[in-house]
Amino acid sequence: MEFINSHKMADIIHLNHNLLSVLYRFNISLGFGEKDVETICLENNINVDFFLEIANLFNDKEYFNEKNLQLFSAKLIVNYLLNTHDYYVSEKIPEIYKLILSLKFDTDSERNQGLIKNFFDEYKKEFQQHILREEEHIYPYVISLQKAVDTKEVSKLLLKKIKENSIETYGVEHGDIEEKLYDLKNIIIKYLPPPINGTVSNIILSKLFKLESDLNQHSRIENKVMIPVASRMEKEILFNLKLNKIKIVN
């Protein structure tokens, strides 16, 4: 079923509690009372249509509608992606890390714990490097394209970037961090001796599976929404330049 603006926010969460993570990303707090989606979004200064598009995407994988999402402004999309990064770095990864530190084993406890801890440390580091690259290079570039389109002014530097390093050449690479996550799941499922506190490894695993599918959504939005939107703006800028509809500034 598709969520619409007149649905009560509380009902939506009852129907699919996975949407709690979406609320986090939009910085929406609980305590909705009987308010509907539109009212909650208005109160929180959130674009209702965008919120619904994301909520529906999380509710039903098949809902993914890149054409609809591409209609939203680059700023809105990038902001959402940034908040998602924050959700991973401030919430999900520390949660899993804490659980990993609490693992205890019958034999070789220190060694086994150290192995997993070091592995996750590496994963964390690569994850942060990846995010940093996006936040320092790719996202600001997309935002500056939007600004150029809006103000009809393009700086020489931006123009150089469009011509030499277009968004397509960035490509959004997730290969290595995806592989590490895959390995970690298999190591826990197949190879690590069962910990004394067995439920902990179950909780870790279910969190890893959830993180993995969330990351897949995230890269889908990057690849199928952000990159096409940026690419369209690049073309628009170059085209308008030919028509003298956009000014080059320093």
Partner: protein, 191 residues
């Protein structure tokens, strides 16, 4: 029994319902997703480990792209009209006018053929592979391993592919953990 992951791409509601009920009844298949058109097929194949793709051949115009990106994917065409297709392109072919005996027989064969190709995963790693895994875990490059074991770098790469397939571990750090847990290397040796 090994479950095979299936993607079905078919627009006909009747065919999709029928196909899925037959596949699910056998207990050998896990239907990952069913799609009415090819739009998301590539994404799903790359995000999940799809073993078999049941496909209405009329629906896939980027067929060759999918084949070239996923050389291991086995594609079974589900033929529902009279249009001529090149049957050799597919791992196998099922026609909607096939009777029960034909369909059961074909599915039996498809499973057997597919599992033969995947069987590698169920095998233990060999002594040779263990010696290579040991060097990988100690931080040797493919070239260094080739020199150390008197084999070609190409052979090293083949062994490494097999190791990854059998263990389900892709990264060097992951392989190192496996090696320590199974006493193939000592923690003090690892970097």
């Amino acid at each position: 029994m090994k479950l095979l992951n299936i993607l079905v791409v078919e627009s006909s509601y009747i065919i999709i319902k029928g196909l899925i009920s037959i596949l699910e009844g056998s207990g050998r298949y896990n239907i990952v997703e069913k799609l009415p058109n090819h739009n998301r097929a590539n994404d799903i194949i790359s995000e999940n480990k799809i073993d078999l793709l049941f496909l209405n051949p009329a629906l896939l115009d980027n067929f060759y792209e999918i084949i070239s990106k996923n050389p291991d994917l086995k594609i079974i065409s589900v033929i529902s009209d009279n249009s001529k297709i090149n049957k050799d392109l597919f791992f196998d072919n099922i026609n909607v006018i096939d009777n029960k005996a034909d369909v059961v027989f074909k599915l039996e064969n498809i499973y057997k053929k597919a599992i033969e190709n995947i069987d590698l995963e169920n095998k233990e790693i060999s002594k040779r592979e263990i010696s290579i895994l040991r060097l990988v875990a100690l931080g040797y490059t493919n070239k260094e391993i080739a020199v150390e074991l008197f084999i070609s770098p190409h052979t090293v790469i083949t062994h490494r592919k097999h190791i990854t397939k059998k263990l389900g571990i892709k990264t060097v750090s992951g392989l190192t953990i496996y090696a320590v847990l199974n006493n193939i290397i000592d923690l003090t040796e690892a970097k």
